[in-house]
Symmetry: C2
Subunit: 371 residues, 2 copies
């Protein structure tokens, strides 16, 4: 008691105790956007007294997209109800496409950012953070002689790793043209999907390697993908796999090594996986860019020797949404496989070229691997 | 040769080889923004034919901030030359504050996003990715009984970890109110700063634990920080430290345990570090929210028993920028320490309440720790 009185009598300490919390210069009250209502309708908002037009950009929503303005210049739009899912969207503000400025959940990558809307479901989704044993995601750097310089890679290790002496199978998981090596974790929730499926006994324990799939100056499909995909293959085979196998306890035979990817990364997975059957026993192609010559030219032996391919491959899993702009080359690729008698699993699903599809594909593929 | 001809005669494969790369529906040519010129002037751009006004929001730039419009509706503003640094900025588009829509480099957190401008220097900065041995950043989840539920934490491990049997000192590094547990890595570049300083022999090898400093519903300094800071302390002492010490080879004595934080996290570091001298031997406060009662009320014994405090503390490092809105409470706190005879290092520096300051402070603090 004496102590407290003594200290409280100090003007300096008093200033530390009795002043209010530090405040930034007075700001306008915060805007809640998006607001998910209990019935899963969603309200988007924008404070924009000087703005003349606000629209929602969201190809997953076919209804009204124009915001209405109230007298104070607060714009709003309510849509739905929506299915539980993680959606991406942007605003068009006086014709400029940008994120929802009031929403801190932002998807970043190598292209323009977008905003994230998560509509929760009553029962936990396969990508939700749950109270199960969790693996780790390691952010690592490795030297690439193939490309030159130092490159970043995300590595998922399952719960319990690195205890014990077990060696694990390993999935190389490649991102799309708009993303970077954090995309499969931050947007794809690959780590949480693995945690949940492993906890349920539905997927085997494995490591997942998520490299960066672009090469500086070559990220444009109109000009640079040929050379980029060639370099990405060399980097993966000559630099990344040796790095992974020196830094982690992983199995090294093709039956314990898988590769999958989405869009641009699906093209890379086709090229690298199907072109190196001595190294990869499992291949997954999600909305894959299989019309890229750099993806398919290296597949000549794979296509020409179907018996060898069928003997080597444990699984070739191909998925594409009916509304995906890449549906036609995927259907052509599947028809080509069929005409050659090459075994594959073809999943023609609902959906377009977007992350909800790819999260579902990953959750569908993982239980099939390394069995 | 025969193989190639055979395959090339297949219409299906031909479609895979000879078609052009898949293209999205024709978009307008990309806008480069920001563009850093060789003389370190910077041009910002916005395509906005329907927009009436564009301004740059950047408290680090005192000059012209209004963009000019050309005949095609392309807005631009050139500023500088700028000092080499990583800057944050936003646009004001018809009065709406948002990111630069053409810049994929976005700082995210629990508040509104901002855009990132990096002006490189001729010689590598302490936060640059260099070709040196690299540590890892682990993204982990742990159960918190204090707060309830599962919480995410980022963990830096130095190059070479976990080889050998060495136990490492550990720094708990806390973020500010606008950030989350990824902030010190993504924006603060703490991992790269560590890598570089360790490679130069200027900082000891250590683990750095970067927890999430908010509690749902309590993140507003006007209403919830008292309870939040109390819970964050309990979580760190009762849940996070035990998790870290079970999962990583770290030393456990106070002389090998440091805590530092910026802004809100500086207030938490003061409360937790100076209030638990049996656990923490080193404390760093960067632009700290030391006027928060929740930060300073637990410090009564620390202030009342300066001899004990001086005996226990190896370092109390306090830094604040002259233009920081928290400069006054920091100066008052330092004066209070001086009046009590409590040893401390006080760095009154240039700068305001922003990441360039905190990166520099971290690089200045690390070489002093665990010596």
């Amino acid at each position: 008691m004496k102590l407290i009185l003594c200290l409280a009598s100090s003007p300096l300490l008093w200033a530390l105790i009795a002043q209010e919390a530090p405040r930034r210069p007075a700001a306008e009250p915060p805007i809640l956007s998006p607001e998910v209502h209990p019935d899963r309708r969603v309200t988007f908002r924008l404070r924009g007294p000087q703005v003349r037009e606000v629209r929602l950009n969201a190809n997953w929503w076919a209804g009204e997209k124009n915001f209405a303005r109230n007298e104070e210049g607060l714009w709003s739009l309510t849509i739905g109800p929506l299915e539980p899912e993680i959606y991406n969207y942007t605003y068009s503000i006086d014709g400029v496409t940008t994120i929802d400025p009031h929403n801190p959940a932002v998807k970043t990558g190598v292209r323009a950012a977008s905003s994230i809307l998560e509509v929760p479901s009553d029962s936990p989704a396969v990508y939700d953070l749950r109270d199960v044993p969790h693996g780790s995601v390691h952010i690592r750097y490795y030297r690439s002689r193939a490309i030159g310089g130092v490159r970043r890679v995300h590595v998922y290790t399952p719960p319990g790793y690195p205890a014990g002496n077990k060696r694990y199978p390993v999935l190389y998981l490649l991102h799309g043209a708009g993303d970077d090596d954090s995309g499969w974790m931050l947007i794809g929730r690959a780590n949480l999907i693995l945690d949940n499926l492993i906890a349920e006994g539905r997927a085997p324990e494995m490591l997942v390697i998520m490299p960066f799939g672009h090469v500086a100056g070559l990220a444009d499909p109109r000009t640079g993908w040929e050379e980029q995909n060639r370099l990405i293959e060399r980097d993966l085979l000559e630099d990344l796999i040796p790095f992974v196998e020196s830094a982690y306890r992983v199995r090294r035979e093709a039956a314990s090594r898988a590769i999958a990817g989405l869009s641009m990364g699906g093209g890379q997975a086709a090229r690298i996986g199907l072109g190196n059957l001595d190294l990869f026993g499992w291949v997954g192609l999600f909305s894959a860019a299989v019309r890229q010559p750099s993806a398919t030219q290296p597949l000549q032996r794979f296509l020409a020797e179907p018996e060898r391919s069928n003997r080597a491959l444990r699984l070739l899993w191909i998925g594409c949404g009916k509304d995906d702009f890449l549906i036609k080359p995927n259907e052509e690729f599947v028809a080509l496989l069929a005409s050659r008698g090459i075994r594959h699993t073809w999943r023609l699903t609902d959906g377009d070229h977007s992350w909800p599809v790819w999260r579902r594909y990953l959750a569908e593929l993982l239980p099939l691997l390394f069995r």
